[in-house]
């Protein structure tokens, strides 16, 4: 076990990516991801990391370069968020269809307008249908662990998909935390060299990314979907292997005090840590509240989540994004959970709350307010979603 040191989370992520012996980094700096890219460029410039750093002119080019690099068999990393993610997004669908295990750290940030550089999950949700595996972290140690895991998961020949490591912008990316960074030898033991199933090689020419006309497009999508569906148990298997070596056990869905809970908060990202304190406070007042936190948003672990929340009478579902669906259906995270509940004929009382948008803090008081709101509402009284902590 490596001794924790005080380090900014962004720098720790960059260090971990460097220790994973990445071959190519192609990225464009954007707040609040900047320190990750800056530090990687320093590591390369100072000779600490033997990698090609491609200082591209846009995120669109960053992902294009990553696709070429990964397709040639190089271990490839990029990082972005928000508007940068939006600009690169069209390439992200291609990276997953071509089964290229690129790793991307996303320092989650709101999308404009109004222009806002602060944290919410707009970019995470924007990315959800691109066919990437989406991992979430709740503190600096987890961001480092997920960065290492992302390469191992993505590059596993049974997986072979690109992986996003989500860390909340500023509230995580710019915070100094005690973090244990495994050394190069430990990481090398966990992360074998990348052996692509197929790569661009002049000796054995192949065409990647060809046109797929109506007679084959459906089959291509079906094949990709089947391969993606198969990743869920493999991710848990790799989490278990990580636990065996490093002692930190991750799960697709993790829980906090849910065993006897009649009220469960479902959350993702570092707000979970605030929710833990809120739950402790509420438990001290005799309220049976717990948390189910989603570690992997894609593939969506519906069975594991239902297992964690099926005993609850009241559910508090967070959405850290506005989805503008017209007001009659919930936000994106709540929609998925409600769909999973419906499929299993479960109908707890559900409150869906839009919180923590564009960097607004989610406080313990907010959480208690939501729990109270659902507890006191009659069935059928709760709207599809509501804003919390908004000035009326």
């Amino acid at each position: 076990m490596s001794k924790p040191i005080g380090i900014e989370v962004s720098l720790a992520v960059a260090e971990a990516v460097g220790l994973c012996d990445v071959d190519v980094v192609a990225a464009y700096p954007i707040t609040p991801q900047t320190h990750i890219v800056e530090h990687l460029s320093e590591l390369v410039a100072d000779g600490h990391l033997d990698a090609d750093f491609v200082p591209v002119e846009s995120e669109h080019t960053a992902m294009s370069a990553c696709i070429g690099s990964s397709a040639s068999g190089a271990r490839t990393f990029t990082s972005t968020c928000s508007q940068g993610y939006a600009l690169m997004s069209e390439l992200c669908y291609i990276a997953s269809a071509l089964r290229l295990p690129i790793v991307m750290a996303v320092a989650n940030r709101a999308l404009s307008a109004p222009i806002n550089i602060w944290n919410d999950h707009a970019d995470l949700m924007y990315a959800r249908d691109t066919g990437w595996i989406q991992l979430l972290s709740e503190n600096g140690q987890e961001a480092v662990d997920m960065s290492i895991l992302a390469f191992r998961i993505g590059e596993d020949p049974r997986v072979s998909f690109p992986v996003q490591v989500n860390l909340d912008g500023f509230t995580m990316s710019h915070v100094i935390e005690p973090i244990g960074i495994p050394d190069r030898k430990e990481i090398a033991k966990f992360l074998p060299p990348y052996r692509p199933k197929l790569r661009l090689d002049p000796e054995h020419p192949v065409t990647i990314g060809p046109v797929g006309m109506p007679d084959v497009y459906t089959e291509a999508r079906k094949a990709q979907d089947e391969a993606f569906k198969a990743t869920k148990p493999l991710i848990q298997e790799i989490f278990n292997a990580f636990a065996k070596q490093f002692g930190r056990q991750y799960k697709l869905v993790e829980t906090y005090k849910t065993e006897d809970a009649d009220t469960i908060i479902v959350a993702m990202g570092c707000v979970v840590q605030t929710a833990m304190t809120a739950v402790d406070n509420m438990r001290a007042k005799g309220k049976k509240v717990g948390i189910a936190h989603i570690r992997v948003f894609r593939p969506f672990p519906a069975a594991e989540l239902i297992q964690a929340i099926k005993g609850a009478k009241n559910l508090i579902l967070f959405d850290r994004v506005t989805s503008f669906a017209g007001g009659e259906i919930s936000g994106p995270v709540a929609i998925e959970i409600k769909s999973a509940l419906f499929d299993r004929k479960l109908s707890p009382k559900v409150g869906n709350f839009l919180v923590g948008l564009g960097g607004r803090d989610v406080t313990e008081q907010n959480l208690e307010e939501m729990v109270e709101r659902v507890a006191s509402a009659k069935n059928g009284d709760l709207p599809a979603y509501e804003f919390i902590n908004v000035r009326e």
Partner: protein, 97 residues
């Protein structure tokens, strides 16, 4: 399922939808895109080869008598050959199902 790609099931697709047999574009049947078919009137044809030169899809090849004949497996019916023929020997004929 399409004969052109030869794929009967999604399970047969290559990893990452890659094409591992380069140079196979000639196998792709583009002829079924066609709504008009070029036909050559040999009475008018001077065997000049303009149709062969202008065809964007290598449809024309020379036969034993020196005439340029169409391979309808690839012909998309674009009509460039009929437009370029200096003696108006090529007519576009409506395809009927």
């Amino acid at each position: 399922m399409a004969k052109e790609t030869g794929i009967k099931s999604w399970k047969e697709l290559n990893f990452g939808i890659a094409i591992t047999t380069p140079g196979n574009a000639a196998e792709l049947k583009t002829g079924d895109w066609r709504s008009m078919r070029p036909e050559t009137d040999r009475e008018k044809c001077t065997k000049c080869g303009q149709c062969y030169i202008f065809c964007p899809d290598m449809v024309y090849s020379k036969d034993a008598e020196g005439y340029y004949v169409q391979n309808y497996y690839w012909c998309k019916g674009c009509g460039i050959c009929a437009k370029e023929c200096p003696v108006d020997a090529i007519t576009m004929i409506q395809e009927v199902d």
